[in-house]
C-alpha cells in the first residue's frame, strides 16, 4: 500500500461509503435530480427528445440514457433560464467566461452552498487542513468560483481565512510571513510565482510558515508540483471543479496523491470518447461528463466538461471509495486557460472584429517564460488598416489590446505583423500555438 503524505483524516463519512451503498444512493439521487430537472423547460424538452420518462429513472446506470448538456445550452438560456427553483431561493450567483465574452451564470440555493462548502472541506482536510490552521487564499474573488468556493470550505472546517485575493505578490509574501499562514490556496502557476518572488525577497525555500498548498483552476503537471514543493517547502495537492457543475470540490486529492477522488455521492462521473460519446474503459483518456445528484438551483444532466482525463476505480489506501480521476491532460475543444482564466480563440477574433470590422488573419502564441503565462496575439496588417503615421498604427495596436482585454479579461501582447507572414493551414486554421509544457 502506498504511503500517505499526510495523516489520513476524513471530513465526511460519506467519503468512505461502500461501493454498493454508494451506487444505491446515487440511483435514488439521480431519480430526484431528473425529476427536478424535468421542471425546467429546456430539460423537459431534451428528456422528451431522448425518450426518457423521468419516472423511469431508478438506477445510476440510467444516467447513460440521459441527454448531454453542453456549455452552449447554458449560454442559450442566458442568464438563468435553467433555474430549477424560484428565483427567490437563490442565495449566490457565480459565473464563468464563454466564447462570446458573455459570461454564463450559475446559481446556488442555501443548501447548494452548504453542500459545496462541505465538498471543499473534504479535499482540504484530506490534504492536511486542520481547524487550527490559517489559510492564505490568493484566488480572485468575484464571479469566479475559486475565491468564494475555497473561502467557505475553509470556514466550514473551522480554519481561518486570509482573503488576500490576487495581485501585489511581494505584499502577499509578507502577509504569509507575518500572519503565519500554514496553507496556501491559489492557481498552481501563481504558487510558482509566489515561490519566485519569495526567493527574490530573500526567503530560503521552506522558511515561510507554509506547510500545505491546495491548487486548482488550471491544468498543471507533476513537474510543476515538484517545483512548487521545492520552492515553497510544502506539500502540494491538486483539486478539480468547474462552475457549471458546482465549482472547486468536484474532486480532490487525498494523501496518496494518485488521482483526485470524485465526490460520487454528489456527482455521477463518466468518461466518454469526445466524438462518439461512447464510454471509455477505465484507465483510458476521454472527456469527463458530470451529472449533479444534489444540486437544487441548477441541476445539470451529463454536462460535457471538454476536460480530458482518465478514471481509476482501484481501491485507494486512504479508504475513500470515490473513483479517482487523473489530472486534466487536455481539452476536447479549443479552450485555453491563461493565468487561470478561460479563454477561447473566438473571443480574440471577436475583439479583432470589434476594432476592425472584419477579423484579419491572426494567431495566438502562449508560453510560460518564467512562472506566469504570457500570451502574444500576432495580427496581420491589411492594406486597408495600414496608415502612414506611426501614431495611428500604435493607436490601432492599443485599441486591439484594450478590446482583447475587455472581451477575455486577460492582458495579451499585441504584435502587428506583415500580411501573409502568419502560417496558414489547409483545413481549419490553426490559431493557437501553446508552448507551455503540459
Amino acid at each position: 500500500m502506498a504511503k500517505l503524505a499526510v495523516e489520513n483524516r476524513i471530513w465526511d463519512p460519506a467519503e468512505t461509503l461502500p461501493r454498493d451503498a454508494l451506487r444505491a444512493l446515487q440511483g435514488r439521487r439521480l431519480a430526484e435530480t431528473v425529476a427536478r430537472a424535468a421542471k425546467v423547460p429546456f430539460y423537459r424538452d431534451a428528456l422528451a427528445r431522448a425518450g426518457v420518462d423521468p419516472a423511469g429513472v431508478r438506477s445510476v446506470d440510467d444516467v447513460r440514457r440521459l441527454p448531454f448538456t453542453v456549455k452552449d445550452d447554458l449560454r442559450e438560456n442566458y442568464p438563468l433560464g435553467l433555474l430549477a427553483v424560484p428565483r427567490a431561493e437563490i442565495v449566490r450567483v457565480h459565473g464563468s467566461s464563454g466564447t462570446t465574452g458573455k459570461p454564463t451564470f450559475v446559481a446556488y440555493t442555501r443548501n447548494d452552498l452548504d453542500v459545496w462548502s462541505g465538498l471543499v472541506a473534504r479535499f482540504l482536510v484530506a490534504g492536511g487542513l486542520r481547524p487550527e490552521h490559517l489559510v492564505h487564499v490568493a484566488f480572485g474573488y468575484g464571479l469566479f468560483t475559486g475565491g468564494f468556493g475555497l473561502h467557505y470550505g475553509i470556514e466550514k472546517v473551522g480554519a481561518g481565512v486570509v482573503p488576500a485575493a490576487g495581485g501585489n505578490t511581494p505584499r502577499q509574501v509578507l502577509l504569509i510571513r507575518d500572519l503565519g499562514a500554514e496553507v496556501l490556496v491559489c492557481t498552481p502557476s501563481y504558487a510558482l510565482h509566489i515561490a519566485e518572488v519569495a526567493k527574490a525577497e530573500g526567503f530560503l525555500p521552506g522558511t515561510l510558515p507554509l506547510r500545505f498548498g491546495h491548487f486548482g483552476g488550471e491544468p498543471w503537471t507533476e513537474e510543476m508540483r515538484v517545483e512548487i514543493e521545492r520552492g515553497l517547502g510544502i506539500l502540494a495537492f491538486n483539486n478539480y471543479g468547474l462552475s457549471e457543475v458546482i465549482g472547486p470540490g468536484v474532486s480532490g486529492e487525498c494523501g496518496a496523491r494518485a488521482g483526485m477522488h470524485v465526490q460520487e455521492d454528489h456527482f455521477v462521473v463518466e468518461c466518454v470518447h469526445p466524438e462518439t460519446l461512447e464510454p471509455v474503459p477505465d484507465g483510458g483518456t476521454g472527456e469527463l461528463v458530470f451529472t449533479t445528484l444534489t444540486k437544487e438551483a441548477l441541476p445539470v444532466l451529463r454536462y460535457r466538461t471538454r476536460d480530458l482525463a482518465s478514471l481509476d476505480r482501484s481501491p485507494c489506501p486512504c479508504g475513500r471509495t470515490g473513483v479517482r480521476m487523473s489530472r486534466v491532460v487536455g481539452r476536447s475543444d479549443d479552450m485555453l486557460i491563461i493565468r487561470g482564466v478561460n479563454v477561447f480563440p473566438s473571443q480574440v477574433e471577436e475583439a479583432l472584429l470589434r476594432v476592425e470590422g472584419t477579423a484579419p488573419h491572426y494567431l495566438i502564441e502562449i508560453s510560460r517564460p518564467g512562472t506566469l503565462d504570457e500570451a502574444v496575439v500576432k495580427v496581420e496588417v491589411r492594406p486597408g488598416d495600414f496608415r502612414d503615421e506611426m501614431r495611428e498604427m500604435i493607436e490601432l495596436r492599443d485599441r486591439i489590446d484594450r478590446e482583447i482585454h475587455a472581451v477575455t479579461g486577460v492582458r495579451m501582447t499585441v504584435e502587428l505583423v506583415a500580411p501573409n507572414t502568419l502560417e496558414r493551414s489547409a483545413g481549419k486554421a490553426r490559431r493557437v500555438f501553446d508552448h507551455r509544457n503540459r
Binding site: R382, P383, F386, L416, V417, A418, T421
Partner: protein
C-alpha cells in the same frame, strides 16, 4: 506640387528592409530617398521613387502593404537659420507637421537643401506655404534636382 510617397509596413526584424529594396531593384526602380520610422516591434518605411505606380504594383505583387501619401518637397536655404525661417512660415500658417525628413540627394551646398514634409491637409498647406513665399518643388523639379 504634391509628391507621391510610398509608405510600407515592415516588421522590425532582420532582413525586413532588404525585401522591398530587392523588389524595387529587380523592377529597375531607383529609390530617390527613404526614411524609416520604427518602434521596437514594427516600422514604417517611406520611399520616394520616380515611377511610384510601377513601384507600388511591384511591391504589392510581392505581398507588401503599401500606402500612398501626398507629401511636400520644400526648398530650404542652406545656411544657418534657414530651416528655422521655413518652420516659422509653417507656424504662422498654422500647419502641423506629422513628420519630416531631409532629401540627401537634393542639396546644393550653400544654396539650398530639400526637405520632405507630411502635413495634415497637404492641399491647403501647399497653398498657404506658396502664399508665404516658401519654395515648393514639383515632382519634375525634385527628380531633376536629385539627378534622377
Amino acid at each position: 506640387m504634391m509628391i507621391r510617397q510610398l509608405s510600407l509596413f515592415l516588421e522590425n526584424r532582420s532582413g525586413q528592409l532588404r525585401v522591398p529594396c530587392k523588389v524595387l531593384g529587380d523592377a529597375g526602380i531607383d529609390i530617390l530617398t527613404m526614411s524609416l520610422a520604427d518602434t521596437q516591434q514594427f516600422g514604417i518605411l517611406r520611399l520616394i521613387v520616380k515611377d511610384w505606380e510601377k513601384a507600388r504594383k511591384a511591391l504589392e505583387a510581392a505581398g507588401i502593404v503599401v500606402n500612398v501619401t501626398d507629401v511636400l518637397a520644400v526648398d530650404v536655404p542652406d545656411r544657418p537659420g534657414g530651416l528655422a525661417s521655413v518652420l516659422e512660415s509653417f507656424e504662422k500658417a498654422g500647419l502641423g507637421i506629422e513628420y519630416m525628413y531631409a532629401l540627401a540627394a537634393a542639396r546644393e551646398r550653400g544654396q539650398y537643401a530639400t526637405l520632405v514634409f507630411r502635413l495634415g491637409d497637404p492641399e491647403r498647406a501647399a497653398r498657404l506655404l506658396r502664399d508665404a513665399g516658401v519654395k515648393l518643388l514639383s515632382s519634375e523639379e525634385l527628380f531633376a534636382r536629385a539627378g534622377a
